[in-house]
């Protein structure tokens, strides 16, 4: 008998992709798998293929972009190349860097209702989904406001609520905090953690590893269009390969690595709290 494998929520096989009118491929033979409910952090230097990868996960690539696409991307058992956008949109939500580019309705409530309305759901179902989405994101108090008058952090939460109203199984976020101040960024990242605990599979592209690495199950590093590292954050961030790639390692990781070689014991801490607890423990 063949071993029974859990059905992956995302399965990418041998994906290579070149944008139209580009000479060089943006993705080269990418293989990637995510289990339902996983929280995966994707990082790597600018131009490494992270954004292209995100676009491939919800079918924007190749369906809207064209270009030269090889390999397969399956989301929740559906091939992105042969599934209509409205079907994919109910399974994968994509959040971009700049929420200003996504929001267009006159009120937050309408913005969040827009997706479900387009699925032609019954009125009560739409109202319920909107309530729920606003509630979980924590922006019920903003529902009458115009998205234009909100702060960047609030706008990003509106964009996330609008996707949640579609009840996606997977959320893909491409540097959602790039334009946010640290306090708003932290709040958006904590929201991702909460949604993930509620069962949503989260694929998050982020440079600020110090804010997020301790909350994720896996860390995938792209470089030059390829997957350069893939594993639990404590393995990936402490690997020699990743430090060679010039990924900005959190200071706690840098200090722990130095201490490891001084005391001859491997330390794999990700937060100041973890490292401080260890040191306090050693000094008593």
């Amino acid at each position: 008998m063949l071993p029974v494998m859990a059905l992956a929520i995302i399965e990418v096989r041998g994906l290579s992709y070149t944008y139209p009118e580009s000479d060089a491929p943006s993705l080269i033979d990418v293989n990637f798998r995510a289990e339902p409910g996983e929280f995966v952090l994707v990082t790597g230097p600018s131009g490494c293929g992270k954004t292209t990868f995100c676009r491939a996960l919800n079918g924007l690539i190749p369906n809207s972009y064209g270009g030269d696409f090889k390999g397969t991307v399956m989301v929740d058992g559906l091939l992105t190349t042969s599934t209509p956008v409205y079907e994919l949109a109910q399974r994968v939500g994509l959040v971009f860097q700049n929420p200003e580019n996504e929001l267009f309705c006159t009120t937050v409530e309408r913005e969040v209702a827009f997706g479900p309305e387009n699925l032609a759901l019954p009125r009560e179902e739409i109202a319920m989904r909107v309530e729920e989405a606003l509630e979980i994101v924590g922006i019920t108090h903003l529902k009458e406001k115009s998205p234009e008058e909100l702060s960047g952090g609030e706008q990003q939460k509106v964009a996330i609520a609008a996707l949640l109203a579609m009840k996606p199984k997977v959320l893909v976020l491409d540097e959602p905090t790039a334009n946010l101040d640290p306090v708003s960024a932290k709040s958006v990242l904590e929201l991702m953690h909460k949604l993930n605990k509620n069962g949503v599979t989260v694929i998050l592209v982020e440079h600020r590893l110090e804010m997020i690495s301790h909350l994720v199950d896996r860390c995938v590093v792209f470089e030059g269009g390829r997957v350069a590292a893939d594993g639990p954050p404590r393995e990936v961030l402490y690997s020699d390969k990743v430090s060679e790639l010039g990924v900005g390692l959190p200071k706690v990781v840098q200090v722990s690595k130095r201490l490891s070689s001084l005391i001859g014991e491997p330390l794999r801490f990700l937060t100041p709290e973890e490292l401080a607890t260890y040191i306090r423990g050693m000094s008593y």
Binding site: P45, D181, P182, V183, Q254, L262, P272, R280
Partner: protein, 271 residues
């Protein structure tokens, strides 16, 4: 030399965006202004090139009172690089973008060509000379907007959130560009939320909160003060947080110093 003396400014009735700000910035300093959203950082730097004039107090830039001159005059001395390059860029090609201000300032064509060449090389933009700035990536656009300001050689350079969307390598490059300009005698002021960037690369930090300057001094001293970080609701650098949590007698933002202090703690206990 910039001297800001008791400056108050409010956009409407009621809340002051700036509430009695005093600040001295010497020639060829490299400093950061940090603080929560709405602390008054951007309002303050808009006073440096005269975009805003103080409602009370005064701002003196290189000996000129900003109320007694024009933005056009101050713009030659103070170059402002905005956070969002899309708000700055407009020309058909990168080359035209870089030469725009120079043409307006009436520089001779040979001088313009020389400065544009310099900027294309310095910011690794030579391959994009004839490209539209709008077709470039976010990081490349940021470099074009910074280059377009540096082209006209202002004595004082103000950068608003220069590190957003930049990866680690790009940040390191930006830091070395800023350090180089600073060594050449320029005053460089960075307005930012990126506290780790400040901790690593900027020697002086001014912390603002609710329209006031609440701390000002050497970065390694200010960013390890728990009271200041709390009062301004800034997330502290990771190493400062680590220092407080371990209870280090001399909190630090320097990796070497932290490693040394921890080594001593651990070694003492082994005796």
């Amino acid at each position: 030399m910039i001297s800001i003396d008791g400056v108050t400014y409010s956009y409407g009735e009621g809340i002051s965006a700036l509430d009695g700000v005093d600040l001295e910035i010497g020639d060829s300093e490299l400093l950061a202004i940090v603080g929560e959203n709405g602390a008054g950082k951007t309002t303050l730097v808009k006073h440096l090139n005269g975009l805003l004039k103080p409602q009370r107090g005064r701002v003196i830039v290189e000996g000129i009172d900003t109320r007694e001159t024009t933005v056009a005059t101050l713009a030659k001395k103070v170059g402002l690089v905005f956070q969002n390059p899309d708000h700055m860029l407009f020309a058909e090609t990168v080359e035209k973008e870089l030469s725009f201000a120079l043409v307006n300032f009436g520089l001779p064509p040979e001088e313009i060509a020389k400065r544009v060449e310099w900027a294309l090389i310095e910011f690794r933009l030579s391959n994009y000379r004839d490209r539209s700035p709008f077709t470039l990536s976010g990081g490349e656009k940021k470099r074009v907007s910074l280059a377009s300001v540096l082209c006209y050689d202002p004595q004082i350079i103000v950068l608003d959130e220069p590190t957003t969307g930049q990866d680690n390598l790009q940040k390191t490059r930006l830091a070395s560009t800023l350090a180089k300009l600073n060594r050449q005698g320029k005053t460089v002021i960075v307005v930012t939320h990126d506290i780790e960037f400040v901790a690593d690369f900027i020697p002086r930090v001014v912390v603002m909160s609710k329209g006031k300057v609440i701390a000002d001094g050497p970065t390694e001293e200010i960013l390890v003060r728990e009271d200041v970080m709390d009062a301004s609701s800034i997330l502290p650098p990771q190493l400062a947080e680590l220092s407080w949590k371990i209870g280090l007698s001399t909190p630090s933002i320097n990796t070497e110093m932290i490693v040394e202090e921890i080594r001593q703690i651990l070694r003492c206990d082994q005796k």
